[in-house]
């Protein structure tokens, strides 16, 4: 594919997904608060907020690591883009159907950890730094379950390519064949985008965590990049666990979009309904419960795939 077109497709998917995520989030917030949902307002609000952020003056701290600070959102966005590129958006159409797509996703999501830590560290300020450390503890806990459930999903397909994994779900989707996969993946995915109950890195209890000292256009870039990561996670989840383009009547691309939106809506609902989890408790749960469950998932899927 032409490189310009490829960047356009990836950017379009990420941008549309992030906007849809913001709209869903606004609607859910109004629902939780008992405010009337006027859809015209709900749809326009993210654009208004983004414009406000873009026009706000940028603040700075004493002697930040300016390059690393600017690099962090770019790193997140680039890694989300790399993940999106390897996912087939419709039957036979992926921006780059890499033969090792699952490994590419894992590598990209590992670099996200670097981006978040850099964002917290480079501000040269205590709260962001604590947020960065929190994210490392979180990331080291969710990374093993994430890798294991993806490996389990690759087993029936006998391939590491996302396209082959989607193709292998023609009969029944992985969410049915591997009931442990999607819940574990969603927990790890919420950790990846530090979203909902796992938003310790940027949580309100840390005055905004790694983003505490960021305002103006840089804040906009960061919030966008973080949503891009969640969109990439949802897209990959839709492809790997919800059967991707498979579905009756409607064309494959529409199914893909619907499934991604469903996962985003589920994430948003969890984010508004479940309280923030204390990190030290999550670490214990991740190592003592999630990793064994993910191993069970791998073993059962492997036995079934034989």
């Amino acid at each position: 594919m032409n490189p310009v077109a490829a960047v356009g497709v990836v950017g379009g998917v990420l941008g549309a997904g992030a906007y849809a995520l913001a709209v869903l989030d606004g609607a859910a917030a109004r629902g939780v608060a008992g405010m009337p949902r006027r859809w015209a307002d709900v749809v326009v609000e993210p654009a208004r907020d983004a414009a406000l952020l873009a026009l706000t003056r940028r603040s700075t701290t004493e002697r930040p690591d300016a390059q690393a600070w600017a690099l962090a959102p770019g790193l997140l966005a680039a890694m989300a883009g790399a993940a999106v590129a390897s996912v087939p958006l419709a039957e036979g159409f992926a921006v780059a159907d890499v033969a090792d797509g699952i490994v590419l996703f894992g590598a990209a999501m590992a670099v996200v950890m670097v981006g978040v830590y850099l964002h917290g560290w480079s501000a040269n300020s205590p709260f962001p730094l604590v947020g960065g450390y929190r994210f490392i503890a979180l990331a080291l806990s969710y990374e093993m379950p994430l890798a294991l459930v993806l490996i389990a999903a690759a087993l029936p397909a006998e391939s590491l390519s996302v396209g082959a994994i989607v193709a292998s779900q023609a009969g029944s989707w992985n969410v049915v064949r591997q009931p442990l996969g999607l819940p574990l993946y969603l927990v790890a995915g919420m950790g990846l985008a530090f979203w909902g109950p796992l938003d310790g890195a940027d949580g309100a209890d840390l005055a905004g965590g790694t983003a505490a000292e960021v305002s103006g256009p840089a804040r906009l870039a960061w919030e966008l990049a973080r949503r891009f990561v969640l969109v990439a996670v949802a897209l990959m989840g839709a492809a790997v666990f919800l059967g991707g383009w498979h579905g009756p009547v409607l064309p494959g691309a529409v199914w893909m979009a619907l499934k991604t939106l469903a996962l985003l809506a589920l994430t948003v609902a969890i984010g508004h309904r479940v309280a923030r989890v204390r990190l030290e408790r999550f670490v214990v749960v991740a190592w003592a419960v999630l990793i064994p469950l993910a191993l069970v998932d791998v073993f059962v899927s492997g036995a079934l795939a034989l």
Binding site: D100, A107, M113, Y117, L118, W121, I136, L140
Partner: protein
């Protein structure tokens, strides 16, 4: 732009970037930056591996090193006196001879690389290199692969044993003291018997 030219341009960018980043690891004052320059060097090498069709290995290298370098950065901040790099800092010894050793090993290896006659047998098969690696790991070389796995398991157990705070006879730092002023002095006083320790603690906390 033809494919081979594009590969050459990408190779120069990634390989050059890897070498420059490797050099900057030892030229920066900030610990976190040093760790992440090293990561950048690994990213460059991983990209060159992908260019050489070793896609799986290149991606796994990135996956592994992103985590490892973050841990390294955390360690640096934990243990070093000047973590953020606010002051210029050089912490080196035997600088001259280290430079000579580095240059000599570079020159020697590069000479071997340039002069030696390696067989010119480029990879020709169209088979998926990842599949080849998988068959090799679980086929002829399974014993080697399993040895690596057992080595990693032994490493995990050993490093937890070395690093854990709780030892069989109490806390690991029990009996440790502040660093001695004289390099030849005894580094730590002998640990007191455990029974007395309990009494001390009772008095302090009571």
């Amino acid at each position: 732009m033809s494919r081979s030219l594009a590969v050459d341009v990408a190779f120069v960018l990634f390989a050059g970037g890897a070498v420059v980043a490797a050099w900057l690891v030892f030229r920066t004052d900030s610990m976190v930056r040093a760790a992440y320059w090293l990561l950048a060097s690994f990213l460059g090498v991983g990209a060159v591996m992908v260019l050489l069709h070793a896609r799986f290995l290149g991606l796994v290298l990135v996956l592994m090193m992103a985590g490892e370098m973050t841990i390294m950065a955390v360690f640096m901040v934990m243990f070093m006196m000047n973590p953020a790099g606010l002051n210029p800092m050089t912490m080196v010894h035997q600088h001259g001879s280290a430079k000579v050793a580095g240059l000599v090993s570079f020159a020697g290896l590069a000479l071997v690389g340039i002069v030696a006659e390696f067989p010119d047998r480029p990879r020709t098969s169209d088979a998926d290199p990842t599949a080849e690696l998988g068959v090799e790991l679980l086929g002829d070389s399974m014993l080697i692969f399993e040895t690596a796995g057992v080595t990693l398991l032994a490493t995990m157990i050993g490093s937890i044993a070395v690093a854990s705070k709780r030892g069989r006879f109490g806390d690991a730092e029990e009996g440790s003291g502040p660093p001695p002023l004289e390099p030849t002095a005894r580094p730590a006083p002998e640990p007191e018997p455990a029974m007395e320790d309990h009494d001390h603690e009772g008095m302090h906390h009571g």
